[in-house]
Subunit: 329 residues, 2 copies
């Protein structure tokens, strides 16, 4: 069974079970760190495309401590953790089940606490399936699109499936090839920088957040912050100068004007601007009506290449940690 068939059946089954509670009303997206970022495009999608589902995203431990009053038999909790071992996310799943909610776990590991604390599981990122189209972002987007399609219909469903079928995989592999040489050079140029702002919008705010907290802070021990392109002019832009590096994710789709406005300003006042343009990265193979939702997948790959090249010149491998895996905390 393909992942798409599996997700389709899973959603049908969730909706059927929720019938007894008056129908599905709320969707809670719950995860931590990189997985939180992975769920963000699905949240952005549901906020934009659903007219009937209540949607909220929580970092797992906040969900555990501030159980929303709306959590119950008419809720779906979507937890996400690649390893399935994130304790707060496993606990969030348990809390969901305890309140009678349906819990769908997105994880790579069947024998994991996150998988155990759920009523249904989608295993992603495994073996042959480890393509971008089965990343956490795409798996959560699949689920979100299917939820809208089966509740009220999603007019761009066919284009969305087409993107997931193979176009996103193609786009990501081309994006990597396209940027590698450029990123090698940029890593040389930027090797002594200690701080990066990552600017993005729409679904790709999730990619900006992931690049800031996972790639730069966690894996590079570099100072970083994700800034929404729409918020940039309302405070953050005052730190712009010739010395401060900015990585701008220029999305394809409806929020591109927000990114372009930040780009125009940064090109004028910053000498250290790196632009990743979704158009140049090949997102255009995906139908315009849904391309924006897939930009974060492509940005994630391209920005990762920058971090990989930085890791080489800085001699700071991406897999070393000061605290994580080293101690209890």
């Amino acid at each position: 069974m393909t992942m798409q068939q599996q997700v389709k059946e899973l959603v049908a089954s969730v909706l059927q079970k929720a019938e007894a509670a008056g129908g599905l009303k709320s969707v809670y997206l719950v995860a931590c760190g990189g997985s939180y970022a992975g769920l963000y495009p699905a949240r952005y999608f549901l906020d934009a495309e659903s007219t009937c589902l209540r949607v909220a995203q929580y970092t797992s431990n906040e969900f555990v401590h501030v159980v929303p009053k709306g959590l119950g038999p008419n809720s779906l909790v979507i937890t996400c953790s690649f390893s399935g071992a994130t304790p707060e996310t496993a606990e969030a799943g348990r809390v969901g089940l305890e309140h009678g909610a349906q819990v769908t776990a997105l994880t790579a590991r069947e024998d994991s606490p996150v998988a155990r604390n759920s009523s249904r599981q989608i295993f992603f990122g495994l073996g042959q399936e480890a393509r971008p189209s089965s990343s956490s972002i795409c798996t959560a987007l699949r689920l979100a699109a299917e939820l809208v399609q089966q509740t009220e219909g999603f007019p761009c469903y066919a284009a969305f499936q087409d993107a997931l079928e193979d176009k996103i995989d193609m786009a990501v592999s081309r994006a990597r090839a396209h940027v590698t040489r450029r990123m090698e050079k940029l890593a040389q140029k930027y090797q002594d920088e200690s701080l990066y702002y990552v600017v993005g919008s729409g679904a790709s705010w999730g990619a900006a957040y992931c690049q800031a907290i996972c790639m730069f802070m966690e894996m590079g021990w570099l100072q970083s912050s994700a800034v929404h392109s729409g918020e940039y002019f309302h405070g953050p832009f005052e730190v712009t100068d010739q010395e401060t590096p900015f990585l701008l994710l220029l999305s394809e789709g409806r929020t591109r004007p927000l990114d372009e406005r930040a780009q125009r300003f940064l090109e004028k006042f910053s000498k250290k601007l790196i632009v990743l343009d979704a158009k140049e990265l090949g997102v255009s193979v995906i139908d315009k009506s849904v391309a924006e939702y897939f930009c974060p997948v492509v940005f994630g790959e391209a920005a990762r290449v920058f971090s990989e090249e930085l890791a080489k010149v800085r001699k700071h491998p991406l897999n070393i940690r000061r605290y994580m895996w080293q101690m209890e905390y």
Copy 2:
């Protein structure tokens, strides 16, 4: 008429008008920068306390470009801008009206674009009313509590009103007196720092965001980033060392365990940790059942004192700007 009476009547009128469209279904909180941060506690409140309203928060320009499909006659758009002059927020109000939604503007200025592009207005922060209880945070919280009270009932409504009546004003004025001497000393100690992480949770993530993007970045030209206490251990904590300053907002209420966990870690691995503890700042005069929602008001004041003292020793007044008010962008 008190602000509370005004908000009560406004919500009754919103709900009555929405009846014709099948009842109020969605609430969109839309603003930029400091006003976005001001609306955040209301969003957190509605996510936690409402079981029927769909809630989403947008930075204004994203709302304008990605009009959610749920926007219509059964939606309430809450826009917020102190000056009422923020173009993106005025445009968001216009988009709301164009789609048949009810738009309530929170602003200080009657003759402003944001006020004009709305169906109802609440004027806050004016003259004698310029107390914390009529700040953007409290005004939005009033509206949110009233929405829950009049749709499904809010069990802690009386305690909430009691906090808004005078306790929050008392707490904020005491907090300022309580921290001033300490902040003078800290500003001396930290005067040469160029970067601050601001860590917080719950409703106070909004205060962390405001302190980072408005007080540090915009007004201090200092590098900064807001980090959710629950996310800290999932990436950001790897930048923790003896040299990096952290400002931790230790909330009262359900998310305090998240903040305390970050505190324990930071006390061990950071030499530059500033803790603002809501308990010590006097939030405890507010009933425990609702205190967490008001923490951001108290943190906003106390952290502002730090920025004011920093401004003095750094000889960088809070009202100077490089770009804002200086040019078109």
